[in-house]
Symmetry: C2
Subunit: 225 residues, 2 copies
């Protein structure tokens, strides 16, 4: 009983911090995207492809989370954008406090987009609001088409499913129509983009989605102000 | 502060239950293996191949965990062995209490081997002892060779790493020597078996490992009694 009570308290403290972060992102017109997937589904590679496709003057930054190692930050820094690694030391998800600390040395008014790469875990990160405008779930075709039904929370909460590694479709038992139907069964409004980050396929649609999503945020804000 | 204290209390309650389960498994000469991996690394397919390779009179049972759906139990029941699904309803790991309940209708003295398929999650299940004789981590070559360094706890605690989907090696950027070196850097004594469950490769070594592991357990017990 105590455990449930405390979990609620921890989550509501996180929600309070996340609301503050969301305010800050909106005030500074920063689109914040929270990328979530299983280990090895391709979040870091998707970010590598994103950064290499951006105008080098784009005002974009990345916070990348892992339990151990600085590997991902090293991979992502090659593209010249600001990148910080958040090493959780065992914790299975990022929380709003970690994001707040990760942002400490950055001026939000110098950014237009912030990517958060969550810890590789299809379960726990879905419970922690980070103040993001959008959660994005990355699913690899090597994982199987049943995953949206087995891990419904993250598919329900994500605006977009990026279906990665489609170059492997000839070699794996993966029914792509069933995968998309399963995602839509959990979340009828979910958008879906098929990509292969390894083979640089489908990335135009992904870059266009990001641009349109930031426009949408700016327009929504203009309508309010 | 409270949170850490409570987490310890929950874990120590789990440890107490797990110790009771371990006693029961040992008393009845049941080898219990706890399979852990990311979502979609191939735990269920490995179990399908295992059950189809067993003598139909083998006294083997499976407890299979998922957040939602009974899909895995349906897949595994086709082989005629007793299978029960544990649906956690959101919880990111199995715990010893769920195993205790899962076993309620089975007589342990009618079993020689129990497989537990954990929730697909490379992080949280490593913290929960289920009374198993051995944890086994399944890593798919589609996930990348850096995973043992990024998720060290489960590789440190597993006796065996089953490296699955080796049939995909020609199509994915995966350095198999580096993956094995990374696993051994975290856990020098870890055993490694390469398989492709989809193509039925390497399964002889896996079945032999299971047989040898049960022998080892029986011999250790004979030495004590």
């Amino acid at each position: 009983m105590n455990r449930v009570g405390l979990e609620r308290k921890v989550l509501s403290e996180n929600d309070r911090l996340a609301a503050t972060l969301r305010d800050r992102f909106e005030t500074h017109n920063v689109l914040c995207a929270n990328l979530i997937s299983s280990p090895g589904a391709g979040k870091t590679t998707l970010l590598e492809r994103t950064l290499e496709n951006l105008n080098p003057h784009a005002r974009v930054a990345v916070l990348t989370g892992d339990i151990q190692t600085e590997n991902d930050a090293r991979r992502l820094r090659r593209f010249g954008f600001p990148v910080r690694q958040i090493t959780t030391g065992g914790t299975c998800h990022l929380d709003a406090r970690m994001i707040e600390r990760g942002l400490e040395e950055w001026a939000l008014d110098e950014l237009e987009m912030l990517f958060i790469e969550n810890v590789g875990n299809l379960v726990c990160p879905s419970s922690y609001d980070l103040g993001e405008a959008a959660k994005i779930v990355v699913l690899s075709v090597a994982e199987g088409e049943d995953k949206p039904l087995k891990y419904p929370s993250i598919f329900f909460k994500s605006e977009l499913m990026v279906l990665n590694k489609v170059d492997l479709l000839p070699y794996v038992p993966f029914d792509i129509a069933a995968a998309e139907e399963n995602a839509r069964r959990v979340h009828p409004g979910i958008e879906i983009i098929r990509v292969s980050c390894a083979r640089r396929m489908g990335l135009g649609a992904w870059m266009a989605w990001l641009g349109a999503r930031r426009e949408k945020m700016l327009n929504a804000r203009a309508a309010v102000v």
